[in-house]
């Protein structure tokens, strides 16, 4: 009997989880954020149900401040695989002019957290696949694979179900939802190695290229369009940078890099001196900030 490699084992686990959800949950959806984890999730979903198309829609919560390339990539993928791609924006937030420059953490709350809750309510999804991994942050290390949210979409760490073997309990009350994390046991390195092994298409923002950027508070921010507010004295310069995570461009720090291929990215990741979440500006606020936001319904 041949022993599975650790990537094969992780792949089989994720597929098993996806199939359980589709078999037992009433109205599943896959959250699609266009990043590398979402790309891996999409790839796994295509494999899990082959030759069927993934039997659920995909949901992208668009803050309107994503990198332009991300949006193009999303639409290309949706077309290529014939996905049912739902794009949701908190229109109320747009009307009020909520933006990442003036509104700080309120921006994240209104355009991401609230928008997600609104979308889940609107379409009455009962189970939402997310790409969260336990290695990302300390409080995530204790997250269940099936994470239950009450009718206000809130997470109560004290009221989660024990997960034994792979016997997932998917029972829900009306109005409740479950967030499911098939990549729970993957590390950032696993993600990259799997992308290489499976030849998974990802946005080119992950690869180093000359891009117009400004240096601000220790972060490298790309000037993706003319909505970017430059501070006095700031002038975009062309630098060879890449991104380790993708999100709203004014809030996503890049790194200077020469890594133009997957192998180079993997090499860089393995010798990385800082873990990927430091490039998300919101995570640095205070110890425990992630746990707090999760309680409020953030993914």
């Amino acid at each position: 009997m041949n022993q599975l490699s650790h990537l094969e084992e992780l792949e089989a686990e994720a597929i098993y989880i996806m199939r359980e959800v589709v078999a037992e949950c009433e109205k599943p959806v896959m959250l699609y954020s266009i990043g590398k984890d979402s790309s891996v999730m999409l790839h796994l979903a295509l494999k899990a149900f082959y030759p069927e198309k993934p039997p659920f829609p995909f949901l992208h919560v668009d803050t309107t401040w994503k990198f332009h390339e991300m949006i193009e990539f999303r639409d290309k993928m949706a077309k290529k695989y014939g996905l049912d791609m739902i794009v949701y924006t908190n229109q109320e937030g747009v009307k009020q002019g909520i933006n990442p420059f003036d509104h700080g953490s309120a921006y994240t709350d209104i355009m991401k957290t609230q928008a997600l809750k609104q979308a889940l309510d609107k379409y009455e999804f009962t189970a939402a696949f997310g790409g969260g991994r336990r290695d990302e942050e300390k409080s995530r290390a204790k997250e269940r694979i099936f994470s239950f949210r009450n009718s206000a979409h809130a997470w109560d760490p004290k009221n989660q179900r024990p997960e034994m073997w792979k016997l997932y309990n998917t029972k829900l009350f009306k109005g409740e939802e479950v967030r499911v994390f098939p990549l729970s046991n993957w590390t950032e390195k696993d993600i990259w190695q799997y992308i290489r092994q499976e030849n998974i298409e990802i946005p080119s923002l992950y690869f180093a290229k000359e891009r117009p950027v400004v240096y601000r508070d220790g972060n490298i921010i790309m000037v993706d369009d003319d909505r970017m507010r430059l501070k006095e004295g700031e002038k975009p310069v062309m630098k060879k940078v890449r991104f380790r995570t993708l999100g709203c461009y004014p809030l996503t720090g890049g790194v200077e890099s020469d890594a133009e291929t997957l192998d180079e990215i993997i090499e860089e990741t393995l010798s990385a001196v800082s873990s990927e979440r430091t490039s998300r500006v919101i995570d640095n606020e205070a110890a425990g900030s992630m746990e707090r936001r999760k309680r409020e319904g953030y993914f």
């Binding site: 009997m1 041949n2 204790k142 034994m164 800082s274």
Partner: protein
């Protein structure tokens, strides 16, 4: 190609479990620089003051950090040159036995910490027992804090002897004992010069090299069916993960429980067409003929599985609500979910000592031997033969909580001299069967206040929610059960007494009883409350004022009472004593029926 080792660490808080793993990660330079910074930052605010506290790497949740204990299971990931690892770090206290079991159910190997200065303690026995129960076949005892006993060889040997005696009780495939110091770092990732008498290698080296693949004769093939994929008329594939053995195109398989057979036409390993598939792979199998296969069935070849309704099991109770024999749960085994009853608790196992204790109740973190009857035939195997086909969970049908996990010991036949323990059906069981809290909703208020209308609407709403209800209406009761009673004082008291007794009987039957009587006297309502029981009595006071009721005067009764035609009319010629502390009060003046019912239903949520 690197393999993956999933392991669990156990030991009590003071044994330095989190420190040990923190140290492994730290030594192996597996901590990203900013996490290291966070660690130093945390250490400053932590209780250990200044020096790096490795355990802070693992204790995640804020509440836990404040309490200084690990409540939940934390998963950590690291890779060395030889292997990838996932560590489940679990709490050691007895009250967190269930969390430890969660970690153990996930792992292939357990690292159990023993404090060198204390030797084998009851918790060491408990952790060993739970690991064995959850099917772990490989254990490593890390005898920690060797620095505190000056790396004394004899003391270590003493402890090792105790450990060997203790593990003799179980079927572990491998067992290893290593002297370590987690804080100093002896024999964790580098061999210690202080234990020259120990030649067994470091903990990390052991974890990198141990073979945990299942060497039992895995002949045959089993795949529990997760779902049936039918994208179009030409394709019908059965999706699942191979749990036992391997399968080839052309093999004949049997679908259980139906027993029908067919040949394998094609196999997809995820999205690739293959000739064969083996354990651990996610596959889609097509058969050459249409046979009865659906989710929960098992596709098998050359294995002896049980197809049965009843079995004896060992249960670990995980719910805050206790287990009472006779209660109905959902049982999930493999991909099959069926209603099931815990028929009896044969005995409880003392989690520390292993002794058997007679009991009829099981509380959180307790282990017991129980017989279980499923409502439908299921396919299973003994847990000791196949973990994946013998492990199950019980799910509470009312709270949806995962109440217990269990392992199948052996199947039971009807004639196996079954004893159904204490199967008297109780009020509690009847109520559980209906999924509701049996209560009496007692509506009081003046004539014309809106009682009959509201009680009717409330019952309709409850009925629509799937509740089983019964309405006792004043007029109806007087036409039947109470037709021998008049309106004198003693008859009035008897009328209420009978209604209360009937309401109570209905509650005992598991029903929600609704009553609507003027019941103007506090003493009558008091005695009804006493009969029905304070916990089950929900008094709703319709406080619509007399003027409003008289203005409505639906039946023309007030007019007749005012003219003296009706004597002793509550509110006119006889007092109405308003309740002092009703559970719910509502004044319907100016409210529509719908608004009033919405309000009552909202309030009733607190009680039903």
């Amino acid at each position: 190609m690197q393999s993956l080792l999933k392991f669990i660490t156990c030991g009590s808080v003071d044994d330095g479990k989190s420190t040990l793993i923190g140290h492994m990660l730290y030594d192996a330079k597996l901590i990203f620089a900013d996490q290291e910074k966070a660690l130093e930052l945390d250490s400053k605010v932590g209780s250990t003051g200044g020096a790096i506290d490795y355990s802070l790497l693992l204790d995640g949740l804020m509440a836990e950090r404040e309490q200084g204990i690990t409540i939940d299971v934390a998963y950590r990931y690291f890779t060395t040159e030889k292997r990838s690892f996932i560590v489940a770090d679990t709490p050691g206290h007895e009250e967190y036995t269930r969390n430890m079991a969660v970690g153990a159910s996930f792992a292939d190997l357990a690292v159990i910490l023993v404090d060198a200065s204390k030797g084998v303690l009851v918790q060491t026995r408990r952790h060993t027992r739970i690991c064995a129960l959850m099917g772990i076949k490989h254990v490593v005892y890390a005898v920690n804090k060797m620095d505190l006993i000056d790396y004394d060889e004899n003391e270590f040997k003493n402890i090792a002897k105790q450990i060997k005696i203790m593990t003799g009780e179980y079927d572990f495939e491998t067992m290893h004992i290593i002297p370590v110091s987690a804080t100093v770092g002896d024999n964790i990732t580098t061999e210690s010069a202080k234990t020259p008498w120990y030649k067994g290698g470091t903990l990390q080296n052991y974890l990198e090299t141990i073979d945990v693949t299942d060497h039992s004769d895995e002949t045959g093939f089993v795949m529990p069916v997760q779902r049936v994929s039918r994208p179009d008329r030409t394709f019908r594939g059965f999706q699942g993960e191979v749990e036992v053995g391997e399968i080839h195109v052309g093999d004949e398989i049997t679908s259980l429980p139906s027993g029908e057979t067919a040949k394998v036409k094609s196999i997809l390993n995820t999205n690739k067409e293959v000739d064969n598939a083996s354990k651990g792979q996610a596959v889609t199998i097509q058969l050459d003929t249409e046979i009865d296969v659906s989710r929960g069935c098992m596709l098998c070849k050359d294995v002896n599985l049980h197809t049965n309704k009843m079995f004896t099991s060992t249960l670990l109770w995980m719910d805050d609500n206790k287990l009472v024999a006779g209660k109905n749960y959902f049982l999930k085994l493999g991909t099959k979910m069926v209603p099931a009853v815990v028929m009896n608790i044969k005995y409880k196992v003392d989690v520390n000592e292993g002794t058997h204790v007679q009991t009829d109740k099981l509380y959180k973190n307790e282990i017991a031997c129980c017989d279980i009857a499923c409502s439908d035939t299921i396919v299973f195997d003994e847990f000791k033969h196949h973990k994946e086909l013998g492990g199950f969970v019980l799910i509470d049908r009312i709270t949806n909580m995962t109440s217990a996990c269990g392992v199948v010991e052996h199947p039971l036949r009807r004639d196996d001299n079954l004893t159904w323990h204490n199967m008297d059906i109780t009020r509690e069981l009847r109520a559980q069967q209906k999924g509701q809290e049996p209560k009496t909703i007692w509506m009081t208020g003046l004539s014309g206040a809106g009682k009959s209308t509201l009680i009717n609407e409330v019952e309709k709403r409850l009925f629509a929610q799937g509740k089983h209800t019964m309405l006792l209406d004043g007029d109806n009761v007087r036409m039947g059960l109470n037709k021998n009673l008049g309106f004198k004082e003693q008859d009035r008291i008897e009328n209420i007494r009978r209604v209360a007794e009937v309401a109570k009987l209905m509650n005992d039957a598991g029903l929600i009883t609704l009553t609507s009587f003027i019941s103007p006297f506090a003493s009558d309502r008091r005695s009804a409350r006493d009969i029905i029981g304070d916990d089950n009595f929900i008094e709703i006071y319709i406080s619509t004022p007399l003027e409003e009721c008289e203005r409505r005067d639906v039946k023309g009764l007030y007019k007749r009472a005012r003219s003296g035609e009706i004597p002793n009319f509550s509110g006119i010629s006889s007092p109405y004593e308003a309740p002092e502390n009703p559970e719910i009060t509502i004044d319907t003046t100016g409210m529509t029926v719908e608004e009033s019912v919405d309000y009552l239903m909202e309030e009733l949520k607190k009680y039903i």
